[in-house]
């Protein structure tokens, strides 16, 4: 896959992408989340 024969490597390569994109999706979905969180006193 992707010109890489060893599954241990292409899996890592794909996981890097998936985790980066996953972070973006998570951040976007939770953009307005956590409003129950009490604000910090200065």
């Amino acid at each position: 896959m992707l010109g890489i024969d060893d599954p241990q490597i292409w899996l890592a390569y794909i996981l890097c992408f998936v985790s980066a994109v996953g972070c973006m999706i998570y951040g976007a979905l939770k953009w307005n989340d956590g409003s129950d969180d009490p604000e910090v006193e200065a």
């Binding site: 010109g3 490597i9 390569y13 996981l15 890097c16 951040g27 939770k30 989340d33």
Partner: protein
Amino acid sequence: MAVSTPILGMAILIYLMVVFYLGWVGYKKTKNTEDYMLAGRKVNPFVLAFSYGATFISTAAIIGFGGYAGAFGMGVLWLVFMNIFVGIFIAFIIFGSRTRRMGSNLKAVTFPELLGRRFQSRFIQGFSGALITIFMPLYAGGVLIGGARFMETALGVDYNIAVLILAIIVAAYVITGGLIAIMYTDALQGALMFIGMSILLVITYVKLGGVVEAHQALTNMAHLVPENLAAAGHTGWTTMPAFGSPTWWTLVSTIILGVGIGVLAQPQLAVRFMTVQSSRSLKRAVLSGGPFIFMMAGVAYIVGALSNVYFLETKGMISFDVVGGNIDKIIPEYINSAMPDYFVVFFLLTLLAAAMSTLSSQFHTMGTAFGHDLYREYIMKGKIAKTINITKAAIATTILISVALAYILPPGIIARATAIFFGLCAAAFLPMYAGAIFWKRMTKEGATASLLAGTFSSLFWLTFVHAKEASALGISKALFGVDTILTGTWTVVDPILIATPLALIVAVVVSLMTKPASQEHIDMCFK
């Protein structure tokens, strides 16, 4: 170097002017201790994500690990996955929210202070501060050397002067502007790094004929692995090293697990969770944090590995041979020969930004650890002057120590400094830190025992067993006449795999044997 010095000089000048402007903004906005130590706990999520990433990724990560990928291949991509999944996702969502909340409940302004107040122990705060004060200058010295070497080759500045210039520039905005200045300059530096690395990735794949084609060409080169590397387990650039071989152990234990998990307990990173106003900011920061790390570490390692294809096509040699075995030169050599001139200028700026963003946080963390945690809170029991003034003096002192180390330490030891610091932090802090924020039953005695067990077992393993540090330090040789007191596979097993589990067991056993903290205190910590 194909780049004309005036253009590069101009680019650096503009960059430095913006950096100083941000430093000045930080100075103007700093009104109290929380501003100076925690950027007022009101940092924007994007600034947090870029600042965290830019601090995390130093020149060493791009040049050093990129070069490692050039020599040993793409197995190190597992580290990128760990950096994103553990270093960003788990760190921000699981550790970050709790840390932020507890930090604000306990009014802690540094990482050691958070631990110290959670366990009601000045000793924990002082000892943690001392550990950072003693060992972080090694790590900062390493980054300083990297930055100064860059200025030496790119600008033709004398190395010794470059160390001073770099330290003075960073010191100026760190001491005056505190963490506000640091985080804003970090965000600028992070943005530069992001653009630089994106261009690097695209040009590399285009030059090598596409993603699959480039990888296939690299896969086809497996028979070119030098014999001595093959004997140590190297099987090619798109395959994992032979299971259980020395190369495999170094990759998996030191690099993937050591750096990948060690990041959770880095004081200069953990403190950043306390700089935002709400858990929502942490969740928003994940959006930019994940792709940022991918574009830094992922690109450096992919490009490092693929440099072999480029050098084989242009020079008929693998990267390792092109640089005569000095793998730190693989990325610079590749950039200089394969990239267009305008990009070389930009990339040099990227590297300078990477060095400065890591250095600034190191200086700030060492200064707060020494001035606030060790001196003011532990030695003087909190009964002396203002934290900001003491911290400023301590930052200046620790910078001088780092500069001195950059002059006197041999390159062999410096190269190990980052690994030593990461491993030590993981063993000393991780079980105690995780217990502090997740386990209400963890006691002061359990935390203290875990801190001491992690610290000393890690140092013991480094000094007497793990071959890379033990032979460089030479203490085992002097005492026992042998480089390492154990032999075989043990000498390539990283201290983190021994010391961290030990510290964890000690933390659990001692906590269960001792009296828990008062319910009132626990309620206050976890409210």
